[in-house]
Symmetry: C3
Subunit: 131 residues, 3 copies
């Protein structure tokens, strides 16, 4: 398992982590199999989505904010319940195929670390599993 | 990794893909382990849900549409931001146990390819991992 | 694959299952790899979230109820469509790293079985995959 740092710079931010995942796959010398990327936080998640038009993740952040407003009548004293829920909606891990040593995503897909309560120093844990 | 075609016929459609996954598991001669099913698109996802009453996925499509309306004040010029968000909410892969060569889902469970911007020719990528 | 019972006591309940997963990992003698936890139901899911303040999952239940109200103009005759949708939003499995025989979650993370139509006798299926 490899631990990789991700530094976020905004309260809500989608950070493309394809390059970091590929680097871990290369270092682990995984040729064919699956790579599992785990976010060990509770107010940040990970998803996959379009990398061509940066407006897609802009819309995604706005839609999630409308679905789960930051301010609400929440019990959690820290005040960031919305971030916890958004993270669960996106999920805390993605598993992606690896073929010939290369991360195998769809033509328009990238993996995005989803910061919902930043900016913070974050990390991801990467596990390679041969198939 | 096996690539399998899925052709959708409506703008929003939940397509049961159990049979396609089982076929790939059988061809890969996986006996015990996990099968990973990846959707390489950005406006379609995959989930699991009830296969007994077809109204369950009808309601699911309607509820997702209410949560993430097709028309909104979205930035993405292509106009299908809602499909991108719905796909991330469902997720882009499922991992399911395989036992004795058979896909092991709960009694009422099936895996559904989730089309959110069809009809289109789609595909899924299936990776078998022995345990 | 190990099957473990989870008994829920309320209509909506988040049950911490870390201890059950760790027990299965120990019994399987998995040292390094991934553990896959599958919920074989259609009105219950599984997610990860904060274990320190119990109010986090209280807020999560309330926010999901607001997003997907129990009562609606639903087609599914059984009347629990909201539970089906909430389960798909959380997802039906989590995959978590295992290191040195121990479930490796973030400092504040726990895995929560998510009951959305209880109380019921439920189960989870646990598969260990060495990496």
């Amino acid at each position: 398992m490899r631990e990789i740092a991700v530094e976020t710079r905004a309260h809500t931010q989608f950070v493309n982590v394809d390059r970091l995942i590929q680097q871990a796959v290369t270092e682990a010398r995984l040729v064919d199999g699956l790579v599992h990327v785990h976010v060990p936080h509770t107010t940040a998640g990970i998803t996959i989505n379009e990398n061509a038009d940066p407006d897609v993740v802009v819309d995604m952040a706005a839609i999630l904010e409308r679905m789960v407003p930051w301010k609400g009548n929440y019990a959690h004293a820290e005040g960031n319940s919305a971030a916890h829920v958004k993270a669960s909606l996106m999920g805390f891990s993605v598993t992606v195929p690896v073929q010939g040593g290369m991360l195998k995503l769809g033509s328009w897909q990238s993996a995005y670390f989803c910061e919902f309560d930043g900016p913070r120093r974050r990390k991801v844990w990467i596990t390679c599993a041969p198939s």
